[in-house]
Point group: C3
């Protein structure tokens, strides 16, 4: 990996920044304020970190006009330093040599159509009837089932599995271990045994979607499971059959969404939440970590469940009292009646 | 995928239904009441959906005698429409071309026995001493470890991993990303370091078991981990070493079951639950979503833990008070004593 | 798998045990007290199981001096029978035939360096610039990205995925389905859309680390994600970008650790916990199952959150009252004021 260097002026242009200091300063890479060296560019996105501006060894810093007074070195001045950092980060990413064309050890069905600009890695499989678009990368040992469509510029990392009838838009990134299109958990109980319901729907994923490692998105029972444009899903998320996730919503790791629930646009759902089935979550809703959602949310806002962390001994006491809560409330009411009666008498 | 069509009379016969309307009506596929077209068959399994019977475009509907009065079109009349839908769903499932025989790029150890009717997909591996039964499908890039046995009609989807000594019964379906037989989490602490305990047991899985995507079932420490006949496990479930799951139990996604816990027959465990180790859960128990189970359950019933979802501000207030619960209860008791004393005086 | 047998005297030597009974007794394998046969060796690590000493059919038992009086058969006497069992367990583990050298169907980049004593299984991929150390095993269909380093004696099970720039120490064991080095969940929100932040850091894993099936460890945003020596991670754990886990800490299945959190040494974190980002957890902390950690822990101890499991009907009542908790506490205060005032009057 040869290092790529950029001069401050070039980087400033990318993010429409004003420059303080030397526009010819060479930036070797990006780093945090605490760990940056004299050739590195850092950023400050939160005023809590102003203290590090005094001590940082960074050769240059991306900062907002408000933080400028605390730093006299080379600087790129923008309104949103975090966004600027996000944009510049891609210039310093190592380029992976994904190869070209179809690997010798890949298996591509004769009826599949693969763009000549696509890359199919070693051991990857593309099944019958699938269409792999321009500049798509299918990394090693990834399996694309039948009748899938992968839009241009989409990247399937290694060891991804797509079942049949999964259609993914353009410029998506699907991380390793993700499984898309497995059967939804649909069974009818018949005299104590489970009769499987064939899952006839597929999965439809929009453009610019990122799906994390080991995240699972089941195919629909009858209609499709739908993931909107710009959705970002972290690792180990479970999306059940016929779930719909609206545009630009973000879900953090290990959250589970049960069947047929519709999540609106621009929702932010923290990690390890559980959302039960057949709900509707209003656009713009925020759900905090490890919340159990069992009712639809019609009004955007922030929602939570659970209890705060306590020392184990104190917690045990609270847990015992939680059991008694209804009794406690009733006793309080009785006492209120008595005292008020007593007062009145 | 050529579409398969069936006449209503043929479908009626499959599910022992009475027909209302035209027995020669051609059904092209299955759909929900809301989305069905004029050639599609729908169903109503819940009287809440009766309103859709009036407006559905479905060409035919599976319904119960009780709902018949609300629908005058073509109908298949059965006592359990959901079960009937489950049974008919398989007739409309697209047939995947899984190929025949052993793929050129598969690796099958010379000491493995593979039925001539089995399919071993591209890149799949079958290790020494394993036995792949009749009509078994091992999809692409799935790895079957040593000395495994896969019963007839069982289907391993792509990118499944079986470690050694995993024995799976007949007609099971194991979804992609599932890992069966990895080491249980067994370690002895020795002066602050972890001494690994070799996991000498295997995994034994019954017949007609379905295991979801990215679900992990660890091998036993000494005895085997046991999954009974007819068990259904959703995605991303963790089953630790020496767990036993009784026949026809169902577990929804993201639930974790810790080591040596025995779950009885016909239990239904919702998603994202945590069940600690060395417990016994009575047959027929139902556990609601995201419940933490830390004690054995001897009496079947429904069990829950956690708190309901609240607006974040209100929740924070409750969380503060949860910490004070023991104090609140004690103060209530004091007050009760005072008031009763006061009254008595 | 030919069975390996050992005489009691040989096993005693391995664990520095004193022998009661016949030193020439042949041990065929290990088993629990309840299931051991007359040729098997068992152990008792918990005095709760003393009752089984009377009825066990085990041919020999590992026990502590305190339990010796309850068992007159062949015995290996040690101070820590569980540790002794852990050590002996490896002698009875079946040897897997992992093969030798690089499998014909593996793909190794010409610029990768692979030790002649390493094993690269069928379908495995080793990308450019990576270094596979002595006696390393890379099992079937595992993918090692670019510029990775795998230290000697480390074992990657089947279907593991390492992205680029993942460095793993010596004598580690990485289970199937694990994904190490996928992008952290880093995005800047720009006018309602998510701007991806390139994840420039890698992952650094120490020596003697075990990582469970389908566990995901993301690469760092700028610095590396760090896993210390001797750490043990169970299945389906999510470790976000820039997390640091200190030496000899243990985390049970399905726990999620959000970005940049630092977990100290020798922590034990139970299953299904959620730990939010940018926290510090003191060395030696214990967190019980399914706890939500949203604040740093500065003092080692045991911590918990959540509520205990209840019968669903009782639970619903408590949940309703949990919502009213702030009101209940305020009403109690009012009543206290009234009663005390009343008393004082």
């Amino acid at each position: 990996m040869p290092e790529t260097k950029y001069q401050l002026a070039e980087l400033a242009q990318e993010i429409a920044a004003q420059i303080q200091g030397d526009p010819d300063f060479w930036v070797s890479s990006l780093a945090t304020l605490q760990s940056a060296s004299a050739t590195e560019l850092s950023f400050i996105a939160n005023s809590q970190y102003q203290k590090y501006l005094k001590t940082t060894s960074a050769g240059a810093v991306i900062l907002s006009p408000a933080d400028l007074e605390f730093f006299s070195g080379n600087a790129l001045i923008v309104d949103d330093p975090y966004l600027a950092y996000a944009k510049l980060s891609h210039k310093f990413a190592a380029t992976q040599s994904v190869g070209v064309g179809v690997s010798n050890s890949a298996t591509v069905d004769p009826t599949a159509r693969v763009s000549s600009s696509a890359v199919i890695g070693p051991g990857a499989v593309v099944a019958a009837g699938s269409h792999i678009g321009d500049n798509v990368v299918v990394e090693a040992n990834t399996v694309v089932g039948e009748d899938c469509v992968i839009g241009q510029g989409t990247h399937l990392c290694a060891n991804v599995t797509l079942y049949s009838d999964v259609k993914i838009g353009e410029n998506c990134l699907i991380h390793s271990g993700a499984v898309i299109g497995a059967d939804g958990f649909g069974f009818a109980n018949h005299q104590g045994q489970w009769e499987k319901i064939a899952q006839l729907g597929g999965v439809r994923i929009g453009n610019r979607v990122e799906i994390g490692a080991c995240t699972t998105i089941d195919r629909g029972a009858l209609d499709h499971t739908l993931i909107g444009d710009g959705v970002i899903l972290d690792n180990q998320i479970q999306v059940a059959h016929n779930v719909q996730i609206g545009e630009n919503s973000a879900i953090a790791g290990c959250t589970a969404v049960a069947g047929s629930t519709k999540i609106g646009d621009r929702c932010t759902i923290a990690g390890a939440c559980g959302i039960t089935g057949h709900l509707e979550i209003a656009s713009g809703t925020h759900i905090t970590a490890m919340t159990l959602v069992t009712k639809s949310i019609t009004k955007p806002g922030a929602y939570s469940s659970g209890t705060g962390m306590l020392d184990n001994k104190q917690w045990k006491k609270s847990v015992v009292r939680f059991r008694q809560l209804d009794d406690i409330a009733r006793r309080l009411k009785t006492l209120e009646d008595m005292v008020i009666e007593n007062k009145g008498s």
